[in-house]
Symmetry: C2
Subunit: 312 residues, 2 copies
Amino acid sequence: MPVSILPFTLRQLRYLTALEDTRHFREAAEACGISQPSLSVQIKTLEEALDLVLVERGRGPVRLTQAGREVARRAREILDAGQGIIDLSATLQSGLGGTLRMGTSTTLGPYLMPHVVGELHRNHPDLRLYIREAAPSVLVRELNEGVHDLILTQLPVAGARLTSARLFREPLGVAMPADHALVSASSIAGPELSGYTILSLSPSYALHDQIAALCVETGAFLSRDYEGTSLDALRQMVALDMGLTFLPALYVRSEIEGRAKDVVVRPFRGRRFARSIGLVWRASSGAAPSFERLATAIRNVARRFPELVLEG
Amino acid sequence: MPVSILPFTLRQLRYLTALEDTRHFREAAEACGISQPSLSVQIKTLEEALDLVLVERGRGPVRLTQAGREVARRAREILDAGQGIIDLSATLQSGLGGTLRMGTSTTLGPYLMPHVVGELHRNHPDLRLYIREAAPSVLVRELNEGVHDLILTQLPVAGARLTSARLFREPLGVAMPADHALVSASSIAGPELSGYTILSLSPSYALHDQIAALCVETGAFLSRDYEGTSLDALRQMVALDMGLTFLPALYVRSEIEGRAKDVVVRPFRGRRFARSIGLVWRASSGAAPSFERLATAIRNVARRFPELVLEG
DNA sequence: ATTTTCGATAGTCGGAAGCTATCGACCTGT
DNA sequence: ACAGGTCGATAGCTTCCGACTATCGAAAAT
């Protein structure tokens, strides 16, 4: 049992502190914007509720009893905390604040969010992001279960109860071993991939379907032999010459360019294949304004990466 | 301006926490002992007051929004603090607690209170004594001004608005230089002092009047040449052979016996002269039960000193 | 398709909290 | 000493908040 109902009101606590401050019933009433009798009655009611004498009545300035001072001190703490709720509501309306539980795809979050959190911390110091990674299919389930307030994932996401904000399109590049025949080309046209073996993530990743579609479109062969559960795993498999794959631009920028020498990534030529990235939340969550602001903040960060195509 | 009036109630906060705990309107209402519609209305009212959506309504267990969780967390702090006031009131009624501002005579406090505070701390761990020393006349004025909650001083104290609790009678002994003629006697009869010069404190000390009365009664001569403002000063003057004086038993026990070799104190024989010590507080203070308990605690400490005669 | 569940809404009622007017005690000034 | 002023308490009235019961509408379960 948390807390039963309290036998006094915030009003009464407020009046007590006013009385301690002003040392006069009349002035305290004025400070509270009520009549003196109203304040007298409330103080008396509070005393009866606590079964304590809080005020020493007499001529001259009234004083609180020892009990009155003790109660007033705690009353101030309570009232301050109450004001804290008011301040909080203002923060939540006009900006981003509090702790936001955000789920993010493992194929995107680690390569984008580090850039986002610093920016957010500067512009929204009251905001604390609580980020949890999972595969997209798990993310959507957890979102519906209320584990996350919103998720950052590949679009589209099915669900009538869900609302999405498109952020950007993230192009996919062709990843191949450093000694592959196609390395000499500065970019790849889709049909050039015809017949090659393409490695993919497990189907619980949205990227899996995207890669499968690209295979159909380019005439490549989607390998069923091994399905990775991380982009790093895919990169390793490519380096071991088990096949080619398609890697998203932010991963490439973060983990391959200037680092991994065993794998080379080439952009598509002509039609640019890309995945759509967005924020998704429950339509019933009621925090759409906050989430839209978050979306805007992420788009601003995405602007730093010329390979991304902003949306929304 | 401390805090304006808050646009929500403790009830609403309580209901919100119940809703977070139970995840159902019906169960939350039951936990709060009210009907489900009443709780629905209050939650809605709270949401309007804060202009925030706190609850995600929908199928299955309801969940709080991010804003709801933030508000609920603070609500729990507030409710806990409110419960703290309830607990406090219980403590103040059934025992001693909080901070008590106690004034004490400089001729008594330093020699008695050190024994009292340890005892009180053991039996009333929630009690904190805030002790300030002053001369008795100042003490009474400050008591009336509300500087102290109660004072420990020599009785009687005039004032219709004041209530006293007698604690004990503290015998006075005759203090003389170690080489004085009367030292050879193990006790002194009043008339033996006839003609001797007696040193006293300033008239702002109740002990001054007491000493003056003893001079009249014993035929001794009350010196007007020098009036001390502390018992230590009197002792020094006696040691310098400026005269004799009367010192209270607790001072003697604390500062002379086994320490000061230059001054000897002898008890009275026959009629035992003593001063009455008691607690005094404003009759309007409303904390008489607490103060009576404090009086009892001090009497229990006084019992350790066989030279004191308990009263009250 | 029917029933059940769950929260929202409507209408009513009692009590809490506000107001004005006034009292009683006390202090002050003439 | 007495009139006036100050201060908090009390009384009587009004308003509104928060509770209830009854019922609705949507979604889930059968």
